[in-house]
């Protein structure tokens, strides 16, 4: 098509066959082909070889033999997971944390964006926005360090609650499984509230001012405008983000939980990703933990497809 002048075609033979034409075309775009094939090679190595590696979930693999030499094990490892004592606690923790996060953590950024959108001073609005997404850029290691300090028995939270007589003696919050979910969920909201709101704020900026003016003339108050103008206008954005959130319910925030977990709160912090890490890397049960990881990926894929088709039917909005 756009043959460069310096790319002199190999041999402009008179009547060219189809494949020869293709060869010439390929040759003329050889720079582009090399550029893309480098990326394809990377994907084969770092995406597709690990996908092939999933095969060990159906084998008895250990580090000494190679993947192909390992004996087949069929569905043994999948059965073993279903019989595992930790199965119920893993499922409870994974779904429990994710669903509460979805119920509380999903609407909050929308509410935050709605109220932010109502601020009159543009400068103040910008300042609030800037401050609100700062925590997104901090690492969980740092936040884990802050939380560990605050929640320790001599930490600021205990001092505050003691001084207000809410509690009689200090509590080591991170050592108590019963507090773990609340800590994970609230710290996640703290970190991501402003960041998650960005997309909604941007969507709200696209709402035509005429709609608000019309609503004002019709006598709508601020809350009515939020509900009947702003929300319907950003519905598509909400739906798409909701699909993504639903399909991610099996993804616990691994980075976060690995920082906050310890021996004492294990019964509440043992989510599926942590379990795969613990069993696979620490105990070296490669085949078994790959099987567990595979179950998770497949369920996640189905959740995505289901959420997508449900939203397509209900609101004509979908990811694909």
């Amino acid at each position: 098509m756009n043959a460069s002048l310096n790319d002199i075609p190999v041999k402009p033979a008179a009547p060219k066959s189809k494949s020869a034409k293709l060869m010439t075309k390929w040759y003329n775009q050889r720079y582009l082909q090399v550029m893309v094939l480098l990326g394809v090679a990377w994907m084969i190595i770092f995406n597709y070889i690990p996908m092939y590696g999933i095969i060990i979930a159906f084998k008895d693999y250990n580090l000494i033999t190679s993947i192909s030499d390992a004996p087949w094990a069929g569905l043994e490892h999948f059965k073993a997971f279903l019989d595992d004592d930790e199965l119920t606690s893993v499922i409870r923790n994974t779904l429990g944390i994710s669903l509460i996060k979805l119920i509380i953590g999903f609407p909050l950024p929308i509410i935050f964006a709605l109220f932010l959108n109502e601020l009159r001073s543009l400068r103040f609005k910008k300042a609030v926005q800037t401050i609100s997404y700062l925590p997104h850029f901090l690492s969980w290691v740092i936040l884990g360090g802050i939380l560990a300090t605050w929640l320790s028995d001599i930490g600021i939270i205990n001092k505050l609650l003691l001084s207000m007589n809410f509690i009689d003696e200090p509590i080591s919050y991170l050592a108590e499984p019963s507090y773990f979910w609340s800590i994970v969920i609230s710290s996640d909201i703290w970190k991501e509230l402003g960041w998650s709101a960005i997309i909604y704020i941007a969507a709200m900026a696209g709402v035509s001012p005429e709609l608000y003016e019309a609503a004002t003339i019709d006598g709508a108050g601020r809350f009515q405008k939020m509900f009947y103008v702003t929300l319907p206008c950003i519905k598509g954005t909400i739906v798409i983000l909701f699909i993504l959130a639903v399909s991610g319910v099996l993804n616990s925030n691994f980075d976060q939980i690995l920082v906050l977990k310890n021996q004492l709160n294990d019964s509440a912090s043992n989510v599926i990703d942590i379990y795969v890490y613990k069993v696979g890397i620490s105990q070296g049960r490669f085949s078994y933990s790959t099987a567990v990881g595979l179950i998770k990926s497949i369920i996640a894929l189905f959740l995505l497809l289901i959420a997508n088709s449900v939203s397509k039917r209900l609101s004509q909005t979908s990811l694909f």
């Binding site: 070889i49 601020l119 802050i146 690995l258 933990s289 990881g293």
Partner: protein, 295 residues
């Protein structure tokens, strides 16, 4: 936002409460960070008594002196800086290069390559198969483990694609007539006009590189190769911060405690991001929008 001639009393109350609520949100967001900052600037022994909430009680920069005198921390900082700088340059260049090739409609096999990439967005090998791959590639305990396994991202490629499609074709045509090949066009013409996209991806990947601790935990045991976040993770998770004090030698001075050193290290680790981010703000909002629309 909207210009209005008059405000009802109800609206005035609404506005006031709204502003108040936003100030509360900002305070809750900033305060934990402020708390660490003032505690890191307080004498360590004195800080053990607690009660430092607003300003340092016994101002001291000894914690920072101890941090900067600590070889372990400084080595880890060096690794973090190196992996962030090298990682960003390679990731941005490589991902943009592949994206540019895929943005050209005449590329043979384009649909197939796009499909190959899209699959990776929805399905992956998972932790253990990836670990085995890294091991087979002999990248355990090697600096390249921070760079090569993340030098490409199909998600970022989609953001680049969206930008490249907006570039007027005439720009490339002119270069072709001058005899430039596609790689030269990419380097000399496409990259310079795509700086907003480059900045967005560089920011995202830079933050990832700076904050990532798990790669170090998983693949690196050599203490001289661990980044600062991995170092801090090991300190937080294994509460081995006493070792840092031992290393620094309480010899320098006795006022430093493991807790106060940890605080100072956290500030040193976070400061570059906090300082850089107001300047980069304008880029990531735009990038995020494109990413979310296409993703």
């Amino acid at each position: 936002m909207l210009s209005r001639a008059r405000k009802t009393p109800g609206e005035t109350i609404f506005d006031a409460l709204n502003v108040f609520a936003m100030i509360v949100v900002c305070f809750v967001t900033i305060y934990p960070i402020w708390y660490v900052l003032v505690n890191s600037l307080n004498d360590g022994q004195d800080g053990m008594r607690g009660g430092i909430y607003w300003l340092p009680r016994m101002f001291s920069i000894e914690n920072y002196q101890a941090v900067f005198a600590n070889e372990g921390i400084m080595t880890a900082m060096g690794i973090t800086v190196a992996k962030t700088l090298i990682g960003v340059v390679i990731h941005v260049f490589f991902t943009a290069m592949v994206a540019y090739a895929l943005s050209r409609r005449e590329l043979i096999g384009r649909k197939f390559y796009m499909l190959m990439g899209t699959v990776t967005l929805f399905f992956g090998g998972g932790l253990i198969p990836t670990y085995m791959l890294i091991k087979d590639l002999n990248m355990l305990d090697h600096f390249l483990v921070y760079i090569i396994p993340v030098m490409f991202s199909f998600f970022d490629l989609i953001i680049f694609l969206a930008f490249f499609r907006e570039i007027p074709e005439g720009l490339e045509e002119a270069a072709k007539i001058d005899g430039a090949n596609d790689f030269t066009i990419f380097v000399k013409i496409i990259i310079p006009v795509s700086m907003p996209a480059v900045a967005t991806i560089a920011l995202f990947h830079g933050v990832y590189q700076w904050n990532d601790y798990f790669t170090g935990v998983l693949y690196v045991n050599n203490m001289d190769l661990q980044p600062i976040q991995t170092f801090l993770f090991r300190v937080v998770a294994q509460s081995s911060s006493n070792q840092i004090v031992a290393q620094t030698g309480g010899a320098i001075n006795r006022s430093v405690t493991s807790q106060s050193i940890k605080m100072a290290t956290m500030v040193v680790t976070t400061l570059p991001i906090v300082l850089a981010y107001p300047f980069l703000q304008k880029y990531f909002v735009k990038g995020l929008m494109i990413g979310s629309l296409k993703g």
